[in-house]
Amino acid sequence: MRHHYVYSTSALVAVVGIVWLASVPAAGQVPTAATKATWDPPRTPDGQPDIQGYWANLRPLEGNLPFFGYSITGEGIEAHDLVASGRVRRYANMVVGGKLPYQPWALAKREEYLANHNTPKKLEYVDTRLRCFLTGPPRLLLDSGSAEPPQIFQMPGYVLMLYEWNHGYQIIPLDGSPHVEADIKLYQGDSRGRWEGNTLVIDVTNMKPGWFDNSGNFFGSSLHVVERWTLVDRDTLHYEATVEDPTVFTSPWRVAVFTMTRRKEPGYEQLEAPCHEGNHTIEHVFPGSWVSTVPR
């Protein structure tokens, strides 16, 4: 049985390919947005609550965790041999209620992905993140960002979130403009934001179908994510999200609160973390296939 998660980079310093996934505080253990809605935060020159800067993840970190076998619902990966051998622990649930409300056909599909996860025979069983595709909200924060939450920038009319992994960026216009045409599908989706008190509410549509994690929890062509980033005090950001896709789920579901804290190390900067440029995952998983002939 092979486990190839070869992710490399030419940058001497940037460390790529290690995703630290550990437990997330369960919803309810942290102050909710509502309890903190009344405080008056520092503001940007154009009046937005100031969430600019670098953020860090408060979740406990458990060392070198390969990112095979990661499930946002914390279940369904017990059979994975890395889990069985104790080399990977199960991850905590990130979903309120602990289960995704799949339609019957979609649950069967997810179980098919899971059953083939360890020894993929088809490209569709391979997590696209292993191929360095951007993952879009909410996954970009929940796994890429769990190691390195974004740097946040604010300008009149925009919030910009910069992720170190795979130099992913999320541009969030605040101008009230409509989403791009439905025919335009994007790996990162199309974001529009607005401020509700101290909460940045981001509406995301136009996503290409993809996965929420790397064990086959998936969405289809009608994903709609509403992200809520709340500045609960000067140095603490809470993230919550509501997810719906009527082509896959029977009802909307929620991502549990994820807490980030402001980084204060002087001189901290993100580094270039290229992904595709040194990625040989597919050649290893599918030696000799047409995919592995794409020059790298």
Binding site: G17, T128, Y169, G267
Partner: protein
């Protein structure tokens, strides 16, 4: 593999070293030739610098070849996807290669269909990313200017308040540090790897590439983009390119995606 906290220590150590060394690289002193004109009536952000923010794109055929070139076929492509003719964006139309490097450029040209890193959908480096035929968006704040590019979601953070870190380092997109010289944003870029090209015609550099970009707002919708390129391993002297950047003025225009490697894997 390293843990997150190890990485944090590494970063802190890195920056302490950078601070201790005060490693400000010498900056190529090319005079700014295009200050924003008196008539420029661009909006001014709070720090009173010209506001470069917005979505921009180059309109020329420099991505095919920086030097003057006729329209022609590109190997492997049907005629309608061939090379569009273009006048030189290189000052004097001469790229001053050392003799060995000129031979290498000619080899690159002969093998351009597959040898070009763009054929592998790699990050294209600087300045090539600017004149790829895709838009990019400049986000400007007083201490950091970030440019998000549509092509392979490339991104550059240009820090205005700190020197280059201590090397040696190599990045696909280099390390960018900026400053304002009057009305011109000057960006000094070093720490490249030797794997990117300047165009689809095989023009290349080594890891000693040093790029100085000058962004001068000419009027609300035009930036004069001028670049000085030096690389003592490859060229006999510094050389310059220049071209306008045009603002994308469509009311609803926004960056979309060109996820080159993903399309290849999508089949």
């Amino acid at each position: 593999m390293r843990t997150h906290s190890e990485r944090g220590f590494e970063l802190r150590a890195w920056f302490l070293a950078a601070l201790a060394a005060v490693a400000v690289l010498p900056l190529a002193g090319m005079p700014a030739v295009s200050q924003a004109s008196e008539q420029a009536s661009s909006p001014r952000p709070r720090d009173r610098k010209p506001d470069l923010s917005g979505i921009w794109q180059v309109v020329n055929s420099a991505h095919w070849d920086l030097q003057a070139h006729p329209g022609r076929l590109f190997p492997g492509l049907p005629p309608r996807f061939g090379v569009s003719a273009g006048q030189s964006v290189v000052e004097g139309n001469e790229i001053p290669y050392q003799p060995w490097a000129l031979k290498k450029k000619q080899e690159n040209y002969a093998n351009r269909q597959t040898a070009d890193p763009e054929a592998s959908c790699f990050l294209p480096g600087v300045p090539r990313i600017t004149y790829m035929p895709y838009p990019f968006q400049i986000f400007q704040t007083p201490k950091q200017i970030t440019i998000a590019y549509e092509f392979v979601h490339a991104e550059r953070n240009i820090y205005l308040d700190s020197p280059h870190p201590k090397g040696p380092l190599e990045f696909w997109m280099g390390d960018s540090r900026g400053r304002w010289e009057g009305e011109t944003l000057v960006v000094d870029v070093v720490y490249f790897n030797d794997r990117t090209w300047f165009d689809r015609a095989g023009n290349f550099h080594s890891e000693e590439l040093h790029v100085v970009e000058r962004y001068s707002l000419v009027d609300r919708d035009h930036i004069n983009y001028e670049v000085t390129i030096e690389d003592p391993k490859v060229f006999t002297r510094p050389w310059k390119i220049s071209m306008p950047l045009y603002r994308r003025v469509e009311p609803k225009v926004q960056l979309l995606e060109f996820e080159c490697h993903a399309y290849a894997d999508e089949g």
